[in-house]
């Protein structure tokens, strides 16, 4: 009498609970009476478990939690990314990611839909980024109907800019040496910017007005943007 063994694919489907009803019962019935297939099934189960543990144990920490990688490798990685994908400009990415987050929420039926064009519903936009060392400038298109710009220093390397009470028309664009706030004249939004304390004096330019200076080592600064 010839014993027909199960295909490996059937054993893995059984292990992953991917069999249809008939196959599930057939595999279960077979492995209870076939030592070879039961052993093979146990082997797949053991290897799957070992792989899961090994992958989890060897996962690397997030970028912010790791030491700065060697410059050569970073450069190589950056070159590879640019070569591979044609490279969106990095500073723009953070801005896009914030929009992607809203889009994702809309795609998955979340409770924070993308604000439609012209919406007057209060919107909140935020972006986190790590400013490079060196001069840092915050630019606004100009004064607006009402609102304020608040600046404060925070520990760590990450800056965060938040738009509060905006119409959805405001944008935050992270630049290599600063942050651009694209604010329409009719805006009444407030902007809260938290900057790493390690930064030197930060220039704040509102339209063509004389620049103000925020010292992260000093007290918070609030600038009234209204009066347009």
């Amino acid at each position: 009498m010839t014993t027909m063994h199960l295909e490996d694919g059937a054993l893995v489907r059984y292990l992953d609970e991917e069999c249809d009803g008939d196959e599930q019962a057939a595999v279960r019935g077979h492995v209870t009476g076939c030592d070879a297939c039961a052993g093979r099934l146990a082997e797949f189960e053991r290897r799957s478990r070992t792989l899961k543990v090994a992958l989890r144990d060897s996962d690397r920490p997030a970028r912010g939690a790791r030491p700065v990688p060697r410059p050569g490798l970073r450069a190589a990685a950056a070159v590879l990314v640019l070569l591979a994908i044609g490279g969106a400009v990095r500073p723009v990415r953070a801005w896009v990611l914030e929009r992607a987050e809203a889009l994702w929420t809309a795609l998955t039926g979340g409770s924070e839909p993308v604000a439609p064009v012209g919406s007057v519903a209060p919107a909140q936009t935020a972006v986190s980024f790590v400013p490079a060392d060196g001069p840092f400038t915050i630019e606004l298109a100009g004064r607006q109907s009402a609102g304020t710009l608040s600046l404060e220093a925070v520990p760590g390397d990450t800056a965060r800019a938040t738009v509060l009470g905006g119409s959805g028309a405001e944008s935050l664009v992270v630049l290599p040496g600063g942050l651009r706030i694209v604010n329409p004249p009719a805006s009444t939004a407030r902007y809260r910017i938290a900057l790493p304390v390690r930064l030197g004096p930060v220039r704040v330019m509102v339209g063509g007005a004389a620049p103000r200076v925020f010292d992260p080592g000093g007290p918070p600064l609030e600038i009234d943007l209204g009066g347009r």
Binding site: G9, V12, E18, R47, A54, L73, A76, R93
Partner: protein
């Protein structure tokens, strides 16, 4: 969405073996979500991982042509938190190295299949992502696990 971003970064890190490249590719994945959202919005998570896989594959091919990144990725390390037991750390380090090297040596499709399975995708979703039939995914997983046996169970290799 933070959980999805973390999952995409983890997946890409495992796929490429390079955490910095993984984060860049994850960002690009979400940039594409913004610029070119999926026409079929019923399975956005699968769409994300498919795009991430394609980007990783392209980057991997470029790296292989350049012959630099894969070698560095396998050798670079460390794990997130130093465990209290040094011997366990060494052991874990060795297993991690073996697994990363074994993953890097797998054909791209097999690597994608194993890593998407780890992220909890169904065989149907995996099949869609790699362009095969649902039924063949089980066979491909079995084959990939066999190929990984040496790394997972040194005595079996």
């Amino acid at each position: 969405m933070a959980a999805h971003r973390a999952a995409v970064v983890r997946y890409l890190c495992r796929y490429t073996g390079d955490p910095d490249l993984a984060e860049d590719l994850a960002q690009e994945t979400f940039v594409r979500l913004y610029h070119r959202p999926p026409a079929d919005r019923s399975e956005p998570r699968r769409w994300l991982f498919t795009v991430a896989t394609n980007l990783a594959r392209d980057a991997h091919r470029t790296a292989r042509r350049r012959g630099e990144l894969a070698r560095e990725g396998v050798d670079r390390l460390p794990v997130a938190d130093p465990p209290p037991d040094p011997a366990a750390a060494v052991e874990r380090e060795e297993v991690g190295k073996r697994v990363r090297a074994a993953l890097a040596a797998l054909p791209e499709r097999d690597r994608t299949i194993l890593l998407m399975r780890e992220e909890g995708f169904s065989h149907r979703e995996i099949a869609d992502a790699v362009g095969t039939t649902t039924k063949s995914v089980g066979t491909l997983i079995a084959r990939a696990l066999d190929r990984m046996a040496g790394a997972l169970e040194p005595e079996a290799g």
